[in-house]
Amino acid sequence: MTNIHSSAAEMAAALSKNETTSVELTKLHLDQISKVDGKVHAFLHVDTEGALAQAAEVDAKRASGEQISPLAGVPLALKDVLTQKGIPTTAGSKILEGWRPPYDSTVVSKLKAAGVVILGKTNMDEFAMGSSTENSAYGTTQNPWDLSRIPGGSGGGSAAALASFQAPLAIGSDTGGSIRQPAALTGTVGVKPTYGGVSRYGVIAYSSSLDQIGPCARTVLDTALLHEVIAGHDERDSTSINAPVPQVVAAAKKLDVKGMKIGVIKELNGAGFQAGVIERFNESLDLLVANGAEIVEVSCPNFEYALAAYYLIAPSEASSNLARFDSMRYGLRVGDDGKRGAEEVMSITREAGFGKEVKRRIILGTYALSSGYYDAFYGSAQKVRTLVKQDFDAAFQMADVLVSPVTPTTAFKIGEKSDDPVAMYLSDIATIPVNMAGIGGMSLPCGLAAEDGLPVGFQIMSPVMQDDRMYRVGATLEAALVSKWGKPILANVPDLGGK
């Protein structure tokens, strides 16, 4: 019998065997949302009516014998960074309060076409800038493992929704780790596909050259199933890759890593990492060896500069991407008293509509792009980016996939780092290089840290458009871990009083 604790694959199987209906499944999740989201605050908007209508439509199609896709009827939580026609879309910012997009993002179109039921929009750091959801203009999301802790960010809403069984599937966006870091901190699975693997059309841009949409779920297979729904070339996104989607579902079913070379990145496995994180990480390496993989150590000396370069490139692009929020055409407008000029209203609106971290990055980026500073800042950062890519290229000569812990620490307390932006930025030290190089990266849970009992994430990285490799390794490791534990990691998540 399927319930909210089932995997998406199990739910899909039950639907196809007519053991349940999409309406029933959707109602179960809407119930869970109303029971627990008051505590978790994963959702910014729940589209009860729309979700039930979509579910009924899928059920009708199934009843009429129409061919439908594998995930049809399974509910999903959508990060509020993607446009969905007619549904409030804010990217976690006050400046977009009340805006209802007149168009669907490509990912939403694909989800709708596949019959995946969209429950609502999930919370995030404003414009995806942050690692904790504390930068959301609409309040912080709590980590279901410990409500006094952050769920990671920027996609903390999507990850927390999965970990508290409010949805079996979610969509995230990952610019420097916004899918993988929350996955790691909530014991869920999150994948950042190869840059260009999933269309960005309709994704409210933070840093266009780094942003990538990806699937989130509670198992590697579920993530793969969702990956194949949303991936593929889109003629509306010039940077989307025109090539066949890697066969990630087949890879996630392989459960075999014999003869594969796993490269451990020396620079991301030691100093600055919590002991319990390293311990779980090393245990996972042993499990991979036990399954026939070979471990090699690789060095990526330029990763040292990646974080600094990221904090020049991303804010530079953001300063330009966010210029359009000027109160003229949509969203918030403040101070338009009929006397003030356009420029003044723009200025007052931006002052009121943007949060502190967003302003910090706009100023940083504006400065980095200024004439006279461009070469030293933006220009140098691009050079580092090339070096990081070269490090990865060399490492992939020696290994099929690369691995590291996802984050230096487990989930920290709400408020702990909110006054120290640099400490916060360090949360993404292991995830950022992947975005800089445009390769694929996955986070899957590899256990609970001994010191705090909180989830630890294991990161697997694969070369451009070889996303299947990380799914293959991830699924094998997941199977070995679950068999060792005797139950999935989320069986340990506290009951939030939903029953």
């Binding site: 446009t83 168009y103 300063s319 359009r324 792009l369």
Partner: protein, 499 residues
């Protein structure tokens, strides 16, 4: 003391620089599929992309790239195998994204030239204008500032915005500085823009209508004392909406700057607006504090990398340079200068050439198009080519030459064709406009004329051939012009013993 133009150029050496913006005539916009038709209802030709809505992404219009390469090739430029778009960041209400997507330091066409010929005191002289770059960009929307005295945004009560123009493909053609024109600077500027306009028209890539703004020229002018070898501070004159204005704007600016220098004032580097009525310029935005546009490569667009084979294929499509073609045709047709000028001004060169290619004799072809057809077109206030085509005119001319139509009848045939009565042959048939060539019918008319004027007939019999004119006139009158005058003359003289 004030200097007039002649005195100004005696003392100061002008240096020119010209920037021409051309709206391409592609069916869709630069980065989206919206229509580009001129004069549509405001904001009816917009979409998420050209409105800069959150999440929307640009995709380059391939036709615009093709048109730009054609322009580059026609201007003897090299075509870059790799070029990129950049973002030019600044705030303005008619800029949907608050940045303009434009090529910057990596344009698609570079290092070309255009030779222009002008009339000098020493006869025809050629000036070479070096082209620095030809690049692609998008147009902005249009603002209409209502209320206030200046028509500018400051002081306006409110502003209306039309985004139909936002995203229309623009090509900017930038010359290097053009030194050494001396007093001919205004004529060189005009000749350059004229030649450029003709080239763009011959390529079919733009409507090149200066009055509608599909071709706009900014003229940079600076002065330095003659023989100093220096470059003065330049001003940039915008809003130059006709070829004549280009010439007037340059000479006006030369005079203004010379007088400032003469009075010991310095030239301010600034944008000036051309005033059509007075021919003077008024100051616009000062560029003393150069605006920092914070250019950086557009991360939403992949680089433009045209295939070398494609470029060579496009090269074969470059038509003969219009000025050379004019010279060639003028010689081939043995056409007087004045008439050639009229043909060019009336945009009849193509159709006359076509008419001649269809077998019409050049003088007749020119006369028909410039004469009767232009007269009718003027009456109806339409273009001559919208009334009849080359095939119809060539047919009429061939009927005149073969004697089947007189000029008078031919005019009636053309009228019929314009009235939609069919081809010339059909009109002749329907209206019964055949030349009367039946000798017996003519003979009775001739006999009647002789009977009516016996004295005249007697004079002709006596050898006074010119006297026959009165009799021929009478016959022509009697036949309503349907007779061939030469034939009448032949028969008449024969009848009176003078054949």
């Amino acid at each position: 003391m004030t200097l007039d133009y002649a005195a100004a150029v005696e003392k100061y050496e002008p240096t020119l620089g010209l920037e021409v913006h051309v709206e391409l005539n592609t069916k869709s916009k630069m980065f989206c599929s919206c229509a580009t038709e001129f004069g549509a209802q405001p904001n009816t030709q917009t979409c998420p992309v050209c409105l800069g809505l959150p999440g929307a992404l640009p995709v380059v219009n391939a036709k615009a790239i093709e048109s730009t390469i054609l322009i580059g090739l026609a201007l003897n430029c090299s075509i870059a195998p790799y070029s990129r778009f950049a973002r030019k960041n600044y705030f303005y209400p008619d800029m949907p994204k608050n940045f303009q997507t434009s090529q910057y330091d990596e344009p698609i066409c570079v290092n070309g030239y255009l030779d222009v010929e002008i009339e000098t005191d020493e006869g025809q002289k050629t000036f070479r204008v070096d082209i620095e770059r030809v690049h692609m960009e998008e147009d902005t929307g249009k603002s209409l500032h209502v209320g206030g005295s200046t028509g500018r945004i400051h002081g306006a009560e409110y502003s209306l915005l039309d985004y139909n123009r936002a995203g229309i493909p623009l090509v900017e053609i930038v010359t290097r500085i053009v030194p050494g024109t001396g007093k001919y600077a205004p004529q060189v500027a005009r000749a350059y823009v004229t030649e450029l306009r003709d080239i763009l028209r011959s390529l079919g890539v733009s409507d090149v209508k200066m009055e509608q703004g599909s071709l706009r020229c900014d003229a940079n002018v600076s002065l330095a004392p003659v023989g100093s070898g220096k470059l003065g501070t330049r001003s940039e004159t915008k809003n130059v909406n006709s070829l004549r204005s280009v010439e007037r704007a340059v000479s006006g600016e030369i005079e203004r700057q010379a007088n400032r220098l003469e009075n010991g004032e310095r030239i301010i580097q600034e944008t000036r607006h051309f005033l059509e009525e007075s021919g003077a310029t008024r100051p616009g935005r000062s560029k003393e504090q150069a605006e920092d546009y914070r250019y950086f490569p557009e991360p939403d667009l992949v680089p433009v990398t045209p295939d070398a084979k494609w470029i060579e294929e496009l090269r074969t499509r470059i038509p003969e340079k219009p000025s050379l073609r004019r010279k060639r045709l003028q010689a081939e047709w043995n056409c007087p200068d004045k008439e050639m000028e009229s043909l060019v001004n009336a945009e009849l060169l193509d159709v006359v050439e076509e008419t001649i290619k269809l077998g019409a004799e050049p003088t007749r072809a020119r006369t028909w198009w410039l004469g009767e057809i232009s007269r009718l077109a003027n009456e109806k206030e339409v273009a001559p080519t919208s009334l009849v085509n080359a095939v119809q005119v060539a047919e009429v001319i061939s009927l005149i030459v073969s004697g089947e139509l007189t000029d008078k009848l031919a005019r009636q045939v053309v009228e019929g064709v314009i009235a939609g009565e069919g081809s010339p042959a059909q009109v002749i048939e329907k209206r019964g406009l055949k030349v009367v060539s039946d000798d017996s019918a003519l003979m009775s008319a001739i006999e009647a004329a002789i009977a009516a004027q016996p004295d005249t007939a007697e004079r002709v019999r006596g050898g006074n051939i010119p006297a026959a004119g009165a009799l021929i006139g009478a016959v022509m009158k009697a036949t309503g012009g349907a007779a061939d005058a030469a034939k009448v003359r032949e028969l008449l003289l024969k009848h009176l013993g003078q054949g």
